[in-house]
């Protein structure tokens, strides 16, 4: 088999694309396969943005029960009884346990391989390359400055406002504050042909404000994705939750220090989250909180075994020079596809 054809077959990115498309089908339309009712879904605590407003999906996102329990179980019961007991947290413990049962095996690859919104954004970025839109990467400073936002979204929209709604401090509409603005709610429902979620509620000011914010954010993500890689992932609260547990999954990114790393930096160019630490750091620090375990840094690392994806002691994928050489012929680290020359170049003629 020619070298180019062999590399095309074995590319980690191609494998990931196949898994992403399969998971997109399962998380958006998979209800027909796994069942209609919530209890029949793959999980009600999936570590990916699989939306319950999508009437035909195959799983529910963990942020749904988290908000629901903060609102109705923790907040409302504290308000009714006037006291806080640890037993109030029991439903949250079960939700986190169900989440972890999935997360243990796949870890942060839920973001890079399974999340439907992640796949949609990647698809749009590819479309942007085809349409020859400019590539905008985030500077080291900007990437670092954006990081706290996802924790803020987690604390305020997923945990804080639902709790406040349960306590009666904020209106009922804030009980699922994150769902109200989540772009995946719009993306997945629109993918099923349902435009209801894209229509803004006009019954109250808060509902309208949430709808306006959600649609504006979604519109921005749709267009920005043509030039910026994974714009929403950078503030996604699920990435924050996944980052909390990333050391508790055997699936991880491993980087060994290498003399040539400091002058190279291709790994950061290849990273869809523009993570500078994968370039500058090694050991545990290289596996940054923003990592989605997509594996592009390992694919585009030109030195043998410097970056690896491991499950416990087992190496699942490791950087290698021959692989890098084959991969760089297909596309640039930033994802610009290389022109495939099907015919031999013409000889002679002008210039």
């Amino acid at each position: 088999m020619p070298e180019a054809a062999q590399s095309a077959v074995l590319s980690l990115s191609r494998l990931r694309l196949g898994v992403q498309l399969l998971m997109l089908a399962l998380t958006v339309w998979g209800g027909a396969l796994v069942g209609h009712y919530a209890a029949e879904k793959i999980s009600n605590a999936l570590p990916s943005l699989s939306c319950a407003y999508d009437q035909s999906n195959g799983a529910y996102c963990v942020l749904i029960p988290l908000q629901h329990q903060m609102h109705h179980r923790v907040g409302e019961l504290i308000q009714q009884t006037g006291k806080f007991t640890l037993s109030l947290l029991l439903p949250l413990v079960f939700t986190v346990a169900a989440f972890y049962a999935f997360y243990f095996f796949i870890g942060k690859a839920f973001c890079g391989w399974i999340c439907p919104l992640g796949t949609v954004q990647e698809g749009l970025y590819r479309l942007g390359r085809v349409l020859r839109r400019p590539f905008r990467h985030l500077s080291e400073r900007a990437a670092r400055r954006l990081r706290p936002l996802k924790w803020l979204v987690l604390l305020v929209l997923v945990l804080g406002l639902p709790l406040a709604a349960g306590l009666g401090v904020t209106p009922h509409a804030t009980g699922d504050a994150f769902c109200q603005v989540c772009p995946s709610r719009l993306a997945t429902t629109l993918l099923t042909g349902d435009t209801e979620q894209a229509a803004i509620r006009t019954g109250g000011i808060l509902d309208f404000a949430f709808g306006a914010l959600a649609n504006t954010l979604f519109g921005f993500v749709l267009i920005a994705s043509l030039a910026v890689r994974q714009p929403f992932c950078r503030i996604c609260p699920l990435l924050a939750i996944n980052a909390t547990f990333q050391r508790l999954s055997p699936l991880r990114l491993v980087k060994q220090a290498h003399d040539r790393c400091e002058k190279c930096g291709i790994c950061t160019k290849a990273c869809p989250m523009d993570i500078p630490e994968i370039w500058h750091e090694s050991g545990q620090k290289a596996f940054n909180e923003d990592c989605t375990l997509c594996g592009r840094c390992a694919e585009f690392c030109p030195d043998d075994a410097v970056i690896q994806i491991k499950f416990g002691p087992a190496r699942l994928f490791g950087a290698s020079r021959p692989y890098y050489k084959a991969r760089i012929k297909q596309e640039s680290p930033q994802g610009e596809p290389k022109i495939v020359r099907w015919l031999p170049p013409r000889t002679g003629g002008h210039g």
């Binding site: 796994v34 069942g35 209609h36 009712y37 919530a38 209890a39 029949e40 319950a52 407003y53 009437q55 629901h68 609102h71 109705h72 079960f94 942007g128 839109r133 400019p134 905008r136 009922h172 509409a173 009980g175 435009t195 209801e196 894209a198 229509a199 803004i200 509620r201 006009t202 019954g203 109250g204 509902d207 309208f208 709808g211 306006a212 959600a214 649609n215 504006t216 954010l217 979604f218 519109g219 921005f220 993500v221 749709l222 267009i223 920005a224 043509l226 030039a227 910026v228």
Partner: protein, 292 residues
């Protein structure tokens, strides 16, 4: 001044009461579904929700049917989980005593959906009223609950409505007709709503009936959970003669305003476009500076 204070207090207490009544929860909320002091809108047998429900119990009243006990059914243990991880319950079905036509359903604690059935039997035939109620419990899907034969003649929603998938006007939803556990083909299903709409639908060879909910939900006066507008009540009824006996079965529930009531696609599209415009500078190519 005192009169003004009294007026202010009255208005305040009314608004608080209205706010409390309008505050529904997830799942077990019934947008406009309560039936307090409701006028009679049908002579078909009904099991209607009455005021007084919470996360573990719901109160109902029987209409057009005189029975002392109502049977409750919970989801069974045929869950899509590995052996040993199943949600177990000993209470798959149980009797509830009705007093003056009222009774309270306690959640089994397992599974979201519960089924209620009141049965009145005479020498001439059998009359059955049925409905479903959603408690927010972890547990198995209601697939086996619906498959389990509960009376001779049955109307079975396929599927049951759920929190983000309620029945709505202008929507078509399937129901199954069964007699003695087998599909009942070519049979007429009557539809009656409390808005006065009457319609009939006929089952196909597989016993399936496609019910088209009419567009007759009036603009909401109050709101249910999640800001949903009020809903209409409806009853589906089917009659069948077999072995010299007359069978009448009814299933009642509620349906809300159409999906786009109190929503605007125009505003939605407008803000989508605004977001897109904000992102536009990112996808525009910047002009390279020209050097003389």
């Amino acid at each position: 001044m005192r009169a003004l204070t009294v007026v202010v207090l009255c208005v305040w207490s009314l608004s608080v009461a209205a706010a409390e009544n309008g505050h529904g929860g997830h799942g077990d909320s019934a947008p406009g579904g309560s039936a307090s002091a409701a006028p009679v809108w049908t002579d078909l047998p009904l099991i209607e929700m009455a005021p007084g429900r919470d996360r573990a119990a719901a109160t109902f009243r029987l209409r057009n049917l005189s029975v002392d006990t109502v049977k409750a059914y919970a989801p069974g243990d045929r869950a899509p989980l590995p052996e040993g991880l199943r949600f177990k319950t000993d209470r798959l079905e149980w009797d509830i005593t009705a007093q003056d036509g009222r009774f309270t359903l306690q959640s089994s604690g397992v599974g979201n959906y519960h089924w209620l059935q009141a049965r009145q039997e005479s020498t001439d035939g059998v009359t059955v009223a049925s409905t479903a109620h959603f408690f927010s419990n972890p547990g198995p899907a209601p697939t086996d609950l619906l498959d389990r034969p509960k009376s001779e003649l049955e109307i079975v929603p396929a599927p049951l409505p759920r929190e983000h998938n309620q029945y709505r006007e202008n929507q078509k939803r399937f129901f199954m007709l069964r007699f003695q556990g087998k599909p009942l083909a070519g049979t007429t299903l009557r539809f009656v709503s409390d808005a006065g709409t009457r319609a009939s639908f006929v089952s196909d060879a597989a016993g399936r009936v496609l019910v088209n909910f009419p567009a007759d939900v009036k603009p909401a006066e109050g709101q249910g959970g999640h800001g949903q507008p009020a809903a209409n009540r409806f009853v589906l009824a089917v009659e069948h003669e077999a072995q010299g006996r007359h069978y009448l079965t009814a299933f009642n529930y509620r349906y809300g305003a159409n999906a786009y009531a109190r929503r605007s696609l125009l505003w939605g599209g407008g803000f989508l476009a605004l977001g897109g415009l904000l992102g536009l500078p990112l996808i525009m190519r910047r002009k390279e500076p020209t050097h003389a």
